[in-house]
């Protein structure tokens, strides 16, 4: 990429990649041979080009003079001007690329990364009885007997996986503990979480830091704040947490409105009730499940 930048000698180079649905990103219209960017359109409504800004730039110091001393979005304010002046060039990325802002995409990105690892450094991946496909296991992690781990699983340092656990397409972060006979698919298990026995988690369930999931629960896509024991909440929700319809509320924040059934005193079902949400800083990955709680401090990691 540095070579490319020096070769054209203009002020800025950005890495672009080809995607199927460009309207979520900043789209780049450029010349095929030189890579000179004609136009830079942020989140276009109609199809302009299928190459998007991959989020990696090389900029000459001259670009700094273009930025005024106020909150500025470089993609919206600086790059379009540079493109008009012919100072912006695009280089197409050859390898894999994913925007991993959302948990769902994070997992897809992890799969792509593991696949690339299989091609470039296969000795880093784990193999053995019970390991299926591309699995990355930290040396300090421990896996029990009769497990089935993989494909596309990464286990962090200090992770303990007990006997008879099946994990597919998940990321398990540092020091998490998965107890026996559970089944996880497409989940992100946060640092120091404790997942009980016979738990079933699927459909991009995200557990933040230090979450306890009681035995025998079923989690279908909720996201959980740090240090909120999912135990009692899910129990009172009938151990079934369903993924909601709208994942995004407002700019830059992500809140999941969790829907759950509650049972009236008279014993009839009241139908689906929307429970309140709480907001979690700027980081996507949502929040909540269960009763409302005050918003945590800004910038708190783990959600």
């Amino acid at each position: 990429m540095v070579q490319f930048h020096r070769h054209h000698g203009q002020e800025g180079s950005i890495l672009v990649t080809r995607v199927e649905e460009p309207s979520k990103y900043g789209v780049v219209v450029c010349e095929a041979d030189t890579g000179r960017i004609h136009r830079f359109v942020e989140k276009p409504q109609v199809f302009v080009s299928n190459k998007i800004n991959a989020g990696m730039y090389i900029l000459s110091p001259a670009v700094l003079r273009r930025i005024q001393l106020r909150p500025t979005s470089i993609e919206k304010e600086v790059f379009p001007v540079m493109a008009e002046e012919g100072q912006l060039y695009a280089m197409e990325l050859q390898g894999f690329w994913m925007d991993i802002g959302q948990p769902k995409d994070f997992l897809t990105g992890m799969c792509l990364f593991l696949q690339s690892l299989r091609q470039k450094q296969p000795e880093q991946l784990c193999s053995g009885p019970g390991i299926v496909g591309n699995v990355l296991v930290d040396p300090s992690a421990r896996i029990g007997q009769n497990c089935s781990i993989g494909p596309n699983v990464s286990l962090g340092p200090g992770v303990v996986v007990e006997d008879g656990v099946c994990i597919r397409r998940c990321t398990v972060l540092r020091d998490a503990h998965i107890r026996s006979h559970s089944w996880l698919e497409s989940c992100i298990v946060g640092w120091r979480c404790r997942v009980g026995q016979w738990v079933r988690m699927e459909n991009v369930t995200v557990l933040g830091e230090d979450v306890i999931v009681n035995d025998e629960l079923y989690l279908n896509g909720p996201a959980c704040c740090p240090t909120s024991p999912l135990a009692t909440r899910c129990r009172s929700l009938g151990s079934s947490c369903e993924r909601p319809a709208e994942p995004r509320v407002g700019q830059g924040t992500l809140a999941w409105a969790s829907q759950a059934r509650t049972r009236c005193v008279s014993g009839s079902w009241t139908g689906w009730k929307q429970l309140d949400t709480c907001f979690c800083g700027h980081k996507p990955g949502g929040v909540l499940v269960g009763t409302p709680s005050p918003p945590p401090q800004e910038g708190r990691a783990g959600c």
Binding site: N146, C166, W183, W198, R200, E216, Y218, S239, G267, W269
Partner: protein, 420 residues
């Protein structure tokens, strides 16, 4: 000497019990490890002076029924006979039709029990009350809360004499919080009012009841035609009981009844309850395991689990609030909660079969199960998950709040569905 009559209905009845009633007649469905009516027969056999037990219904006498009758006769050393009605005759018609059989030998009184109730059967107490003051009809009653009493037969009693002053079957407004348990003690005089009703129905020719359905000749509904008509005339009395009682109309109520009976086993049949033994599975609460079942030591069972004959439970299986019928297989690491796993079914590894209980409010001692309907506003209400006979569930899937019809082989997860 005494006799007992158990009304077992027929294939037209018990439709809410499908798909489980496709395989065996509902009265033979195992509740807490033994067929439903075996609890009735056991209770009757313990009453001193019991000479004969008659089953009246309109099932064809097929294999399971005849085998059950033979086994019951051997075990309880009492003649147990099945009298098949020529047509559905209602709750009272069979009694009148077979009156000669019932009265043969001159019994002092005879019990009449509905097959689809779960109870602690205080038959001796009822007999004592009857002998103290004989009346033609003695009903067993229990209390319900105001809203739920509308689903049952309501009895208004005189608190001192316990005479039934008024009887209404499933009223639409509150009448009384004493409900009819479906367990009765009749004296031979009770057949006279039945005869009157029968003859009156014959004279009226074509019959139509309140729902406009034509009823065949010879049908007598005990509740509407006899109890409601004779209430207040000094013929019908009620004996109150506050032991366990529940109707068994649907699979969910069978599971609840199973729990009630398993609790009773602590007193009546402690040998039927499984105990934790070294090298055996972990047992929590009341669990029944058939001696021929193979359960892995790392499985955790209970509370309220019944495991039938020849069932295989693999390593690391979690079973809670469920009935596993005979020949079923649960492979390793499965989790079965609030479900009924049908005969010969197979649940693959790491799968989860889960239902939602609709139990009565545990905080209300007079609460009973709601009369459950399957749907509300077109959506399937969450209920017990039922796997029919020989259903195959693949590995690693979830079956939640669903009913799977017999012989189905699934390929993915399902929630809130009836899978044909």
């Amino acid at each position: 000497m005494l006799k007992a009559v158990i009304l077992i209905g027929g294939p037209q009845k018990g439709t809410r019990f499908r798909p489980l009633s496709f395989e065996v007649p509902k009265p033979l469905f195992p509740v807490a490890g033994v067929p439903m009516i075996q609890h009735h027969i056991e209770a009757c056999a313990q009453v001193p002076g019991m000479q004969e037990i008659l089953l009246i219904g309109f099932y064809q006498p097929d294999e399971p029924l005849t085998r059950f009758l033979e086994a019951a006769q051997q075990e309880f050393n009492l003649p147990v006979r099945y009298l098949q009605e020529f047509a559905p005759l209602g709750t009272g018609g069979g009694l009148y039709h077979f009156r000669d059989q019932i009265l043969a030998g001159g019994p002092e009184a005879f019990f009449v029990l509905n097959a689809d109730v779960c109870s602690d059967f205080p038959l001796s107490a009822m007999l004592a009350a009857h002998r103290h003051q004989p009346h033609p009809f003695l009903l067993l009653g229990t209390t319900a809360n105001r809203t739920q009493s509308l689903n049952y037969g309501c009895i208004v009693e005189n608190p001192q004499t316990h005479e039934v002053l008024h009887y209404v079957e499933k009223p639409s407004t509150f009448v009384s919080d004493i409900i009819n348990c479906g367990i009765y003690l009749f004296s031979p005089e009770a057949l006279k009012p039945l005869r009157d009703v029968f003859q009156r129905n014959q004279q009226n020719g074509q019959l139509e009841d309140s729902s406009g359905l034509w009823r065949g000749a010879g049908t007598i509904r005990l509740e509407q035609d006899v109890f409601a008509a004779l209430a207040g005339q000094g013929q019908i009395y009620v004996h109150l009981n506050d032991g366990i009682w529940s109707q068994i109309k649907s699979a969910g109520s069978a599971l609840y009844a199973s729990r009630l009976y398993l609790g009773q086993y602590q007193l009546t049949h402690p040998e039927r309850l499984a105990k934790h033994s070294p090298g055996g599975p972990r047992i929590r609460g009341n669990v029944y395991i058939h001696p021929t079942a193979k359960v892995a030591p790392s499985a955790v069972l209970g509370p309220n689990v019944s495991i039938g004959e020849g069932v295989t439970v693999g390593e690391g299986v979690r079973l809670r609030e469920s009935i596993v019928l005979h020949g079923a297989t649960l492979q390793e690491h499965t989790c079965v909660l609030h479900s009924i796993v049908g005969w010969g079914s197979m649940v693959g590894r790491w799968s989860r079969v889960e239902g939602t209980p609709n139990d009565p409010n545990p905080n209300d001692p007079r609460a009973h199960m709601d009369s459950e309907s399957l749907f509300k506003d077109g959506k399937l209400l969450p209920a017990i998950t039922i796997l029919g006979c020989r259903v195959r569930i693949p590995a690693e899937v979830l079956i939640l709040n669903s009913i799977v019809l017999p012989h189905k082989e699934l390929s993915r997860s399902f929630t809130n569905q009836i899978i044909l």
